[in-house]
């Protein structure tokens, strides 16, 4: 996936030696370059994503927030650069991905339970292993709806819950979430947000969350990654370390308000540039 496509003509310039990220880094992105219709979206972009943390990605429209996680997840090819997970390439890494549009992400010809078990079957799990893992998932998500139904028989929130369960089923090293709440009503958003936080506290899975809602981005995040307009670079990487579980009270804590305010300032500065 990380092969250099459209290699530049000056490829004989000696490559820069690989610079590892600071300790605790999970994903290292080096020299990432991506052109869209001849215009650079990312050019020589470097980034370190910490392990066992939630990193929220926030930035102006069209800066390529989703494209960034799609490139890391291998869904969008990159023009140049290198992306490593604990030093491994993508093909040696188990990842999970939650799409915004759950309707077009789940397979309507399979029962919900088979949708969730699908990545386990791909990974060659035996029937007994699949059953055991499914029981764990059902317990940890406290599922109250009938998983033997087809996805289209469930509500939007239930479908998105199933999508998250499917993404987490094979115990991924990294979970990508592309605006997972945007297609949900407010009640479901709150519910799934809490579920996601619970799962994170239980498993400590590295997560990358793209969000267009700043409050939500900060609320869930350990790190808020703020991007510039294109060609995109890192505007700032804010650390937000209020303890979990975070609750409604968190939203009025000075540290939360402070982080959100700072994020907004940086965002507005970048938009006006």
């Amino acid at each position: 996936m990380n092969a250099v496509l459209n290699a530049p003509v000056y490829a004989d310039v000696p490559r820069q030696p690989f610079r590892p990220g600071p300790s605790g880094t999970h994903i290292t992105i080096r020299g990432l370059t991506k052109y869209f219709a001849g215009w650079p979206l990312y050019e020589n972009f470097d980034l370190d994503i910490p392990k066992g943390k939630i990193t929220s990605v926030f930035g102006p429209n069209g800066c390529g927030k989703s494209t960034l996680i799609n490139m890391i997840a291998g869904l969008v090819p990159i023009d140049a650069g290198e992306i490593l997970f604990d030093g491994k390439s993508l093909k040696d890494t188990r990842i999970g991905y939650v799409f915004q549009n759950y309707r077009e992400a789940l397979f309507p010809w399979m029962r919900t339970i088979d949708n969730i078990a699908y990545p386990l079957k791909l990974a060659g799990f035996t029937k007994a292993e699949v059953d055991r893992r499914m029981q764990e998932l059902v317990a940890s998500f406290d599922v109250k709806f009938d998983l033997n139904r087809y996805p289209y028989e469930l509500s939007g929130g239930q479908q998105q819950t199933a999508s998250i369960m499917r993404a987490l089923a094979p115990r991924p090293e990294v979970l990508f979430l592309d605006e997972p709440f945007s297609a949900l009503d407010f009640e479901m958003t709150l519910f799934i947000r809490e579920k996601l936080q619970e799962v994170f506290i239980q498993t400590g899975t590295t997560m990358m969350l793209v969000s267009h809602d700043l409050e939500e981005a900060v609320y869930l995040a350990d790190h808020v990654l703020l991007l510039t307009k294109r060609p995109t670079s890192v505007a700032d990487l804010l650390v937000y370390d209020d303890p979990r579980p975070r609750t409604v009270q968190t939203l009025t804590e000075p540290s939360f308000v402070q982080t959100k305010k700072k994020s907004l300032e940086i965002f507005q500065r970048e938009v006006r540039k």
Binding site: G74, Y97, A105, F107, P108, W109, P119, A123, Y150, Y152
Partner: protein, 259 residues
């Protein structure tokens, strides 16, 4: 009304589909009774329906009905059995489909009846001929719809499978095939209608001893209009039932369609 009796309101909404046919039959009857159209060209609807019912209840119209049904289903089975796998394979290798797209579109646009003389040369005046040409016409529709079903598969479902580590073959087996089912069924339904049309035409004009097409042209030659109209209606019933049957199967198989 005695006290306590429940007044049942009749749900007229359910009777709406009957309005059209009843109006048509009444108009038909009036037109013939008042001599606007000669009875020698158009029999009374009552007589026609009586001929139809007695013919289908064990009369020889039933034999013709079965023969036409058999030919149609045989042609359709060949078209679906070859066309669907081929369409799905062509659709998943888009370059392959692009290279035959013109041929499919061209022959799909050519009236199949125009090819009857060609098929006569190849197969002669035989039963095989009628089935072959109907199968050919239906086949093109199936290939086209199945191929486009795969080509237009929801990209996000393919991406979802890929991100979960599915191989190309697994994506084909678990996603593309299923995604193509709904458009494939649209193709199958049009294909069975097309097969019926061609079979009836072939029965009329390729020397035939049986089938509804033969019955219609035969009755027309001897001006037996009652039998002619009854046979036409039998052909209509056959087409309608085939469509209903396919819609039923489609809802069962592609249960997620439209949801």
């Amino acid at each position: 009304m005695p006290p306590g009796a429940v007044r049942r309101s009749i749900d007229w909404g359910k009777a709406l589909p009957l309005v059209g046919p009843v109006v048509l039959l009444v108009l038909w009857d009036l037109v013939v009774r008042f001599g606007l159209i000669k009875a020698i060209l158009l029999p009374l609807p009552g007589d026609t329906l009586a001929t139809l019912v007695s013919g289908l209840l064990g009369g020889n119209l039933l034999t013709h009905f079965w023969v036409t049904l058999e030919r149609t289903l045989l042609a359709f089975a060949i078209a679906a059995g070859v066309g669907m796998p081929l369409g799905i394979v062509l659709g998943s290798a888009e370059r392959a489909y692009r290279s035959v797209e013109f041929l499919v579109d061209f022959f799909r646009s050519t009236p199949a009846s125009a090819l009857i003389p060609l098929f006569l040369l190849i197969f002669g005046i035989s039963d095989v001929n009628k089935v072959a040409i109907a199968a050919f016409g239906a086949f093109l529709i199936v290939v086209f719809n199945s191929a486009y079903g795969v080509i237009n598969a929801r990209k996000q479902r393919v991406m979802a499978a890929r991100v979960m580590g599915a191989t190309r073959w697994q994506i084909f087996r678990d996603v593309l095939f299923w995604e193509s089912l709904q458009p494939s069924f649209v193709g199958l339904r049009s294909a069975v209608s097309m097969a019926l049309v061609i079979v009836v035409v072939a029965e009329m004009f390729i020397g035939s001893e049986n089938g509804l097409g033969h019955k219609i042209i035969d009755a027309q030659q001897v001006m037996n209009v009652k039998v002619m109209y009854a046979a036409i209606m039998a052909a209509g019933i056959l087409g309608y039932l085939l469509n209903v049957a396919f819609l039923f199967i489609e809802r069962r198989v592609v249960h997620w369609s439209g949801r």
